[in-house]
Symmetry: D2
Subunit: 226 residues, 4 copies
């Protein structure tokens, strides 16, 4: 299963507003918006909610992280195979809040592909983005850590990081999708991301902390310009 | 919610035989045996299956691990609050396959208590058991790592480690339950654990890898001597 | 080799003011003050400087950390045996800036003892202190992390944490020395620590960042009230 | 300071045979062989011995690892600046026994360059090698982990991994040197590495565990074909 582009990827992080019952409610809202608009919306709920969400909605559900372990004697970890068994269809890797080792990224991308799971590798700048794209994930999501969770979108604060990443990856691995994130809040930010060449956005608090989550989702999707 | 003693705690680890749909099936089997016999049976499924299992059975469901993070900007981690939101009622901590830092154990025990979640801290010998019991979890589960996943029960291979741990903990923190584990396979092993003073057992492959899981569970429960 | 009490333990951390040539100079200054006053002064230089400092001064030199690895195929780590081979006579363990797992603390204390190396286990509160003391190190050094590197000494900001730790450890493991740290800057702070029952102090920036390091060291030593 | 090619890089790991006094003796032997033959020989002693070795020999001395921390409140870690202050002239990064995160590799390469320190990034296959070369270290050292410490040289067991890595890196970053390692024991292995296009070798036990270390070093250097 590959990532359908362009895409809005909603990372639920571990917020209480998107955990447990709220994770399920938000996933269903995303599904509703995706169905109404035809947009590609992906949700990444907290790990304990993964199977419950995946068995309840009909849009792609991704894990937020995978450990490089084999199924079995690895208590307290999450193997890629457990993510598969939960019904999820992909995973984020190397999020700035959960960085992993370079050999792990390489092996997990290969393992995910063999299990028909998609991978989005998060990065922090064009240099790391190209390094990660070279290992062949479905997508790279570039997010300057200092802008994550903030009020100003990366597309406004640092558009060059987006366009540089797009250009650098296109020149070596054109098949790898490029997302951007950090501070993305509305349809204008999404439209700007697309204009800069990105295949979509990765965002969290902009949706999770919104009062009217449905309105925000509809606005974000409108920015995809479909 | 505290651990009802004596108890059989079934750690599903990350085995494929107890992941996804199989996690749900095994949890339901444990629930059935608990209801039929009145025994205290606790299940600890893989993290992605936690909410799904917790919302489907009426016996205590524990996580296998908790990260020392706050809910929010901690993508790819699992906060104690996420475990609570998933509907689980407790967690293992410091399993030999997922050791954590001593200050983390201390803080997570306190945090779990404030959330009405039970904690079972896994240890590897009497010295570490007493250190962990001093921090006041609901239970300590002593498991010599070299016997985990093996064919010989700790109660046969090293009964002294069980009785020493029981004695040492009883003398300083009598309210902390003592479980033992590693190689536990059948009712005889459970009976021996109880005879050595333990309040139950923690086991995994003995159940997860069994051909007739129901028969094994019934046998284990019989060892509690109720 | 055991820690001679009461003691001033100077943690050089990784400051440039106490790294490389400066590590050597500061260690020699500490040696001079120790010899002039007869006080027990221990230095813990940055890891790359350990053998050079240990071969150059005649006061106890401790590592700041040890990894739980065996000598051999463990590139980039530091085994307790490497610390021994460097000529050092002890090590800090579990500093708040380098926390380790509880089973590691247990095993490293035993390994250090077998190699005649002293261990000072750093902790953050009385509960963790008792847990660590139960594993039998030479000393426990309690340091509230929020006061480390600050301007107010733990002995002023939170004297109860020192006296509670002293009392709790004395009642279970009276042979374990108790140090305190965080914000300790001068002889008055040291005198207060001793008055609260501590066997000395662990400090860093108070010495490392001082303009007149010799004067500060002389003042600190005076607080030991010898 | 850059790596002079072709080079023999001797990783002392944490072996007792190359720790403390033995680290110094082995480094002096390497220096002697380098001077006699004019070959480029680099030594990477255990971390506690770094400053002592760097102040005692006149060949390049590298650390085996660097932590991504700033100098200061980072007890028990080793900042790149501490490596610089110790007198070393470079560092290995991401050795298979001490893997680090991809963003750390990126940042540490840049930091090392600003401090005039050389970096050799260890990798495990051509894919990871290209990813790491893209971040611009002085060298990449490809070592299949399963061959490390073994009796068969990578150049015999898996020559394709060497030539593939050389070809892949030359096509994208020709200025990055390519070393190979794992099982390298003698001059024939070195000659084969050079024949496969490598700029030298990284080895450990072949030298450290040798009875006649001088003879082995002379043989290795002869393989450089100078």
């Amino acid at each position: 299963m590959t990532l359908r582009k362009p895409a809005i990827v909603v990372n639920f992080k571990t917020y209480m507003e998107s955990s447990g019952k709220e994770a399920l409610a938000l996933a269903k809202l995303c599904e509703q918006v995706a169905k109404e608009t035809g947009a590609s919306v992906v949700v990444a709920p907290p790990m304990p909610d993964l199977a419950l969400v995946a068995s309840s909605v009909d849009i792609p559900v991704y894990a937020q992280h995978a450990d490089e372990v084999r199924p079995g004697n690895t208590t307290g970890h999450v193997a890629m195979e457990n993510i598969r068994a939960s019904g999820a269809s992909g995973t984020l890797l190397n999020h700035s809040e959960r960085r992993i080792k370079v050999a792990e990224i390489h092996d997990l991308i290969g393992l995910a592909r063999s299990l028909h799971l998609a991978t989005i590798v998060c990065t922090n700048n064009p240099g790391v983005s190209v390094a990660c794209a070279a290992m062949g994930p479905d997508a790279v999501a570039v997010e300057p850590p200092e802008l994550i969770g903030g009020d100003i979108s990366v597309t406004t604060a640092n558009p060059g990081i987006v366009s540089d990443t797009v250009r650098a990856i296109r020149s070596v691995r054109p098949e790898v999708a490029v997302l951007c994130g950090a501070g993305v809040k509305n349809g204008r930010d999404v439209a700007k991301a697309v204009e800069l060449g990105a295949d979509g956005v990765l965002l969290a608090s902009g949706v999770v902390k919104a009062k009217d989550k449905r309105a925000v989702l509809m606005d974000l999707v409108s920015g995809l310009g479909r």
